[in-house]
């Protein structure tokens, strides 16, 4: 278990030093700023569609650091050194998922507050967005590490990673955006279930991806 926290700390430090918390937050806020320019300053329209826009922005923010989640470690022999020490690939992947989530999930939840103001969202909508982000961002992090491990061996993997990850994130987007106007709580539960499914599957898929990188 201590290997898990060692890897978690290192990956978190690396992602904070490379762009850090600022990058996903700035990106997220930039989308929230640009969207009113694109559709016009109609307050009612913004309030109705803003929550969905935040979800798309969150998805893209999770995608930003994807090329430095696995590939540099594979290239510099760090993953080999874990394997030589008998640290399981699944454990490495789980630690990386946790570190990735910590580096963008909570910062986005904070950034959603000013973003909600920019999009004229109401308090109840903001609360729904925050709850949805809490449930959904772990799934986005899991998806990110999984796709990163599958594309790490390829040159210019960034664009391909986006192509692979975005379709897989469709359930999170649907239920995430759907949970905003839905007061029954059903969409939120589906969102949490899809997110949980990804978190449960991703360490194994990413672990297999890491093993396949070695050959």
């Amino acid at each position: 278990m201590s290997a898990f926290f060692q890897i978690l700390r290192r990956d978190l430090r690396l992602s904070l030093s490379a762009g850090g918390l600022g990058l996903p937050v700035a990106f997220f806020l930039l989308v929230a700023t640009l969207y009113p320019f694109a559709v016009g300053p109609d307050g009612a329209l913004l309030a109705r569609t803003g929550g969905g826009v935040l979800w798309v922005a969150a998805l893209l923010a999770a995608l930003l650091p994807i090329d430095r989640l696995i590939a540099p470690d594979a290239e510099h022999g760090v993953l080999d050194q874990y394997a030589v020490r008998g640290v399981g690939e699944e454990l490495v992947a789980a630690a990386k998922i946790t570190a990735h989530w910590l580096s963008f999930g909570p910062p986005l939840m904070l950034a959603a507050i000013p973003a909600a103001a920019l999009l004229r969202l109401e308090g109840s909508t903001l609360a729904a967005v925050e709850l949805g982000l809490l449930a959904g961002t772990p799934g986005l992090a899991a998806l990110g590490v999984m796709v990163a491990s599958l594309t790490a061996g390829l040159r210019r993997s960034g664009a391909l990673a986006g192509l692979l990850m975005l379709p897989l994130a469709v359930p999170l987007i649907i239920f995430g955006a759907g949970s905003i106007g839905d007061f029954s709580g059903g969409a939120l539960r589906f969102l949490a279930a899809s997110s949980l499914f990804l978190v449960a599957v991703a360490p194994f898929a990413a672990g297999a991806g890491i093993r396949a990188l070695r050959d």
């Binding site: 201590s2 290997a3 060692q6 290192r10 690396l14 030093s17 510099h76 022999g77 760090v78 080999d80 050194q81 394997a83 030589v84 020490r85 008998g86 640290v87 070695r214 050959d215």
Partner: protein, 204 residues
């Protein structure tokens, strides 16, 4: 995560390969590699470039699948290949201490390992500023820190000056005296008294 001191190998370590064959990219590299090593033994791998010395080391490290044959091993492993696996932005001592913590060594162990390879004055220098020879020595310091029983070294003498070569030979001798095993693929003569030699030949 075992051991307490600098050299705390378990008293018995061993490695046995029987009729190992290795296939890379659909090509048979070598077949029929067999040897047995016990505590304190050393093996020098020789053979022309591309014959599969590095592949054999990676295979022993469990990083490549065994195509045929069997490996049995007792003891922990440390691998030094061309990758330093140290964070380039961190000071050398900090970067080494990441692996030291994973292996259960402490900060004192890090400074002792740095001193063994004449790197003490570089402890606070970022890894990316190191020269080729210093990188090599840092990799070897990482091996020393690992407290592993079996050292797998890929061209450990490359880029080392005479002083560093002497430090390497000393470290390997100490490791063997403490019951460890050294396996080195090297074109340079290494001072490994009584070491077995294995010359790999390409499979037909």
């Amino acid at each position: 995560m075992t051991g307490k001191g600098q050299h705390a190998q378990s008293p018995i370590s061993g490695l046995m390969l029987r009729n190992i064959a290795c296939v890379r990219g659909g090509r048979m590299l070598f077949t029929g590699v067999s040897f047995t090593l016990g505590s304190g033994d050393a093996l020098i791998l020789a053979g022309p470039n591309g014959v599969g010395k590095s592949s054999l080391l990676r295979l022993m490290a469990g990083l490549l699948p065994v195509y045929a044959g069997e490996i049995s091993r007792k003891g922990t492993l440390a691998l030094a290949d061309e990758h330093m696996a140290l964070d380039a932005r961190l000071p050398l001592a900090k970067a080494l201490s990441y692996w030291a913590k994973l292996d259960g060594s402490d900060a004192q162990g890090v400074y002792a390992a740095l001193a063994s390879f004449g790197l003490s004055h570089l402890a606070d220098v970022p890894v990316r500023m190191l020269s080729t020879g210093q990188r090599r020595r840092a990799t070897l310091a990482r091996i020393l820190l690992s407290k592993a029983d079996i050292w797998l070294l890929d061209e450990p003498g490359n880029g080392l000056d005479t002083a560093a070569l002497a430090q390497l030979n000393h470290a390997m001798a100490q490791h063997r005296a403490a019951g460890g095993i050294v396996i080195a693929a090297s074109h340079q003569p290494l001072d490994l008294p009584g070491a077995a030699a294995l010359t790999l030949e390409a499979a037909e």
